[in-house]
């Protein structure tokens, strides 16, 4: 089981049915019946998925017993992706440095067994 919020979000997103449910909710709020329609799974199964999504903070459910509808809560998604985006930036600059390092390494004329490229054409 997930032990913290971010892990819970990622775990919730790992399931294709739950992602499809989120995509559906991105269009509009929906009831359990509406959400179950496109899937070949039972209503209780859909309810279980909704519980996971709700616990992860990805959806909000109204408490009205009769028309209990779900709506998407995009904030945790943004938080999770923003977090990963920071690491993308980290790696982009880091790999720039690796590129420069590899160029330097290959330009050093100390090793004659590595002739520079492009001598044939």
């Amino acid at each position: 089981m997930a032990t913290d919020r971010l892990s819970e979000i990622f775990a919730a997103l790992a399931d294709p049915t739950r992602r499809a449910i989120l995509a559906r909710l991105a269009e509009s709020d929906a009831t359990v019946n509406e959400l179950a329609e496109p899937f070949e799974i039972s209503l209780p199964a859909v309810s279980r998925h909704l519980k996971v999504l709700e616990r992860a903070g990805l959806i909000t459910r109204t408490r009205s017993a009769q028309w209990r509808s779900s709506s998407l809560n995009a904030e945790p998604l943004r938080e999770a992706t923003a977090w990963m985006e920071r690491y993308r930036m980290f790696w982009d600059t880091n790999l720039d440095r690796l590129d420069a390092h590899l160029k330097r390494l290959q330009q050093q004329p100390t090793d004659p067994s590595h002739p520079s490229k492009g001598s044939t054409s």
């Binding site: 971010l6 790992a14 992602r19 995509a23 992706t81 590129d99 590899l102 390494l105």
Partner: protein, 159 residues
Amino acid sequence: MNGTTRQDLVITRDFDAPRELVYRAFVDPDQLAAWFGPVGYSVPRDSVSVEPKAGGHYRFTMVSDDDPSQTSPVNATFSEVIENELLVGSEEWAGAPGLAEGETMKMTMRLEFHDLADQGQSGRTRLVLRQGPYDPELENMARAGWNSSFTKLDGLLAG
């Protein structure tokens, strides 16, 4: 690529260097110390310890050039190593959003080194880096569901 969830960071970069050289830049302590770290940070050579084998460790520390008291240590364990081809490791991370103090989460990193000679680019290497709260079991769960509905979700995230 199979089972990529939106929360896996995937970066692909081609280098004008042979595969062995790119691989060595990650596992040779002298080389790692020479290049690793974001701008403004350095990796002291004596902080680097690499055991490139399954179960081996991967340790080094990034130190801020301006303020040496600011450090960012890496302490990962390799789960899979194929020389010149593949490095997979994981690390317990603290400080992610949503984590309480003292809580950590497991981050997995996968580095694939592809020789582009197969594609007629001799002496060039493609690095595929994948990082995330990435768990092979989750991948199996996600594999079946990489479908058009996710495109909508991407649109939502971008909006």
